[in-house]
């Protein structure tokens, strides 16, 4: 038996072992989280929020192949929906679940509103217009003082509760976010494998050819923008509820860029990759906290390094959730 043959014989079993290991570690982490100190749970909460944002943005970037640098605008829409509908600001105190629905709808509407004008643009121009859109939303939030409180933001947001169960401690948000992330991941993954997802992939690979085989590229792109914005907006509402404070500072261009980087470093178009990317970009700075500024420098250099050595991301597109599931439970 040649070396290659023996490797081929060994690989499936060992990769199944790896898959099981990943799975077991994930389960163990989830099970251990509620027993950690509050500080760590907060870090994990923010990690989950970023994974959620990554799942949302990945629909536009990874599946449809459109570079959106203004994603944070949808995040802001969701956060401010919660802040305005559940705080003394307008003296409205709607229930959390209702606001989630409102935020999701508003997110979808903003997504379509942004989608309509930018559909004609491609590549770099699309990136720039979405970037401008994100900045416009932030500047408006920063300046409409009577509504959003301007740079001071909105404080003293209501405590969230679902069907009478109060969600206030970081652990509560951990469970809520875990459910939402799993749901969003499931939706995104099923969408990718649906006929719509295939249309997105066709647009990503070659827009003209996609149009040639009868795909309505306009509608498919609008659907991508709307779905992605909905997920971003829901993430924003949960973020606002967990912080109980919002200000324009959380919605800068840097934030959009961070989410894009998360996706690209982790593995573009792959939900498992997003989890890996978020883990690196969100957890690493926390782990290296004592090194203060050096950790950001390190992060920047790591980013360059990873992009050069692993241009397809840590977990490449081919190793998606389907593969993980097949490895785990398949024959």
């Amino acid at each position: 038996m040649s070396v290659a043959e023996s490797l081929a014989a060994v690989r499936p079993r060992s990769s199944r072992a790896v898959a099981f290991l990943v799975f077991a570690v994930a389960i163990a982490l989830i099970a251990a989280t509620p027993f950690l100190p509050n500080y760590y749970i907060r870090v994990i909460d923010s990690l989950l929020i970023y994974i959620l944002l990554g799942i949302g943005l990945n629909i536009v970037i990874g599946y449809t192949g459109l570079l959106d640098l203004g994603f944070v605008a949808f995040y802001a829409v969701g956060a401010y929906s919660y802040a305005l509908l559940a705080s003394p600001q307008l003296d409205l105190h709607l229930p959390f679940l209702l606001i989630l629905v409102v935020a999701a709808c508003l997110g979808a509407i903003t997504g379509i509103l942004l989608g309509i004008p930018v559909l004609r643009l491609r590549g770099d121009y699309l990136a720039i217009v979405t970037l401008g859109f994100g900045e416009i939303v932030r500047i408006i939030i920063n300046n409409v003082d009577w509504l959003t409180g301007g740079p001071k933001g909105i404080a003293r947001l209501d405590k969230a509760s679902i069907l009478g169960i109060q969600i206030a401690r970081p652990v509560d948000f951990f469970w809520l976010l875990l459910v939402v992330v799993l749901l969003a991941g499931l939706v995104a993954w099923r969408l990718e494998r649906s006929i719509l997802g295939k249309a997105w992939a066709a647009i990503r690979e070659d827009q003209d050819a996609a149009r040639g085989i009868g795909i309505n590229t306009t509608n498919a792109k609008l659907a991508a923008f709307a779905t992605s914005a909905t997920i971003g907006s829901i993430a924003g509402a949960i973020f606002a509820a967990s912080q109980r404070f919002v200000s324009p500072e959380s919605f800068t261009l840097q934030e959009s860029v961070l989410i894009v980087l998360m996706i690209v470093i982790g593995g573009i178009g792959n939900i498992l990759g997003i989890v890996a990317g978020a883990a690196i970009l969100i957890l690493l700075p926390e782990v290296l906290r004592e090194f203060a500024e050096w950790r950001i420098l390190f992060l920047g250099l790591l980013m360059i390094f990873l992009i050069i050595v692993r241009p397809a991301g840590i977990v490449p597109r081919s190793f998606g959730p389907d593969k993980l599931i097949r490895r785990l439970f398949g024959k």
Partner: protein, 316 residues
């Protein structure tokens, strides 16, 4: 009224010429590599810091620097930043030349982050006072006030832009750079040193950006490690507005942007009766950018590139 008009025009020209110097770097890199160099704003910041460092090495007390020291610092600083730009290209972008289109852009984001934090570690995050490179004398022209600093900035910026124009359109180097920008494979087939041309672009772009940074820091009397971000975004907007990849376009876009900004600051509150204040200046800027892109995606002076002529390369 006339005096005010003159003064605002000069203000717009001054800030516009600084934007133009930076926008040129974006547009040249895009022209040759079809890549948006997000680290370019940091060249602007580096220019100011390197000039400051050289000044303090030359004269000790930076506030007392003489004209010769200032000139030497300016020239040495822009050349050093040019070399830094070439080095960055070698390390962070060159390995990605045959990768996806997005890869070098993201790498440049990493470079940008590293440079800003690196400078924060080296020089501290707080803003630093920057010496004036020109003696401040005020002139009254038809009721408006113009400072010698503004004149100095305008002269310096226009000399540099004229120099670039000469370099690109009249010199052998310019022909090589333009050939590579037109079609890299063809240029390579003709025996042109493509790597050399790209290095040249990454030398000249940061050089101009650094010059812009020194002039800007000198104009406002202050510099900080994060100064590149906002100005970089503005200059980038200017480059797109004029038509990215086009050198005259970048200059035109920069001046249009500056006039919109200055005009918007002065007129927005008046036109809208105070509903929209000067703080909406940047909204106006981006709104104009989006409008221009929707009507004319290639920008004002950009060539409308037909889809077939683009060598197909995946975004991701």
């Amino acid at each position: 009224m006339l005096g005010n008009l003159i003064q605002q025009t000069v203000n717009a020209l001054t800030i516009g010429s600084i934007y133009a110097l930076i926008a040129l770097g974006y547009t040249m890199v895009y022209g040759v590599l079809r890549m948006i160099n997000f680290a370019h704003g940091e060249m602007f910041m580096l220019g100011a810091y390197v000039a400051f460092l050289i000044l303090s090495m030359l004269v000790g007390d930076v506030g007392m620097a003489g004209a010769i020291a200032l000139t030497v610092a300016f020239v040495v600083a822009v050349f050093l930043v040019g070399l830094i730009g070439v080095g960055i290209e070698r390390v962070a972008y060159k390995p990605l030349r045959n990768s996806t289109r997005l890869a070098p852009m993201l790498s440049s984001l990493g470079v940008s982050l590293s440079l800003v934090t690196g400078m924060q570690i080296l020089a501290g995050p707080q803003p630093v006072a920057f010496p004036s490179f020109f003696p401040v004398v005020r002139y009254e022209v038809l009721g408006g006030t113009i400072t010698s600093m503004q004149i100095g900035i305008l002269v310096a910026a226009f000399v540099l832009m004229f120099g670039l124009h000469f370099l690109v359109n009249r010199s052998r180097i310019g022909i090589i750079v333009r050939a590579v920008s037109e079609s890299r494979p063809t240029a390579q087939l003709l025996g042109i040193n493509v790597n050399g041309a790209i290095s040249m672009v990454f030398f000249v772009g940061p050089l101009l950006g650094a010059a812009g940074g020194i002039l800007y820091a000198s104009y406002y009397g202050i510099m900080s490690p994060t100064m590149g971000a906002v100005i970089g975004l503005k200059a980038f907007t200017a480059a797109i507005l004029g038509g990215i990849g086009s050198i005259p376009g970048a200059m035109l876009g920069a001046f249009i942007l500056a006039f919109v900004e200055v005009g918007g600051t002065a007129l927005l509150p008046v036109i809208t009766h105070g509903v929209l204040g000067t703080e909406y200046r940047d909204v106006l800027t981006f709104a104009i950018l989006i409008l221009v892109l929707l009507v004319r995606p290639a920008g004002i002076l950009g060539e409308a590139v037909s889809e077939e002529s683009i060598v197909y390369k995946r975004e991701f």
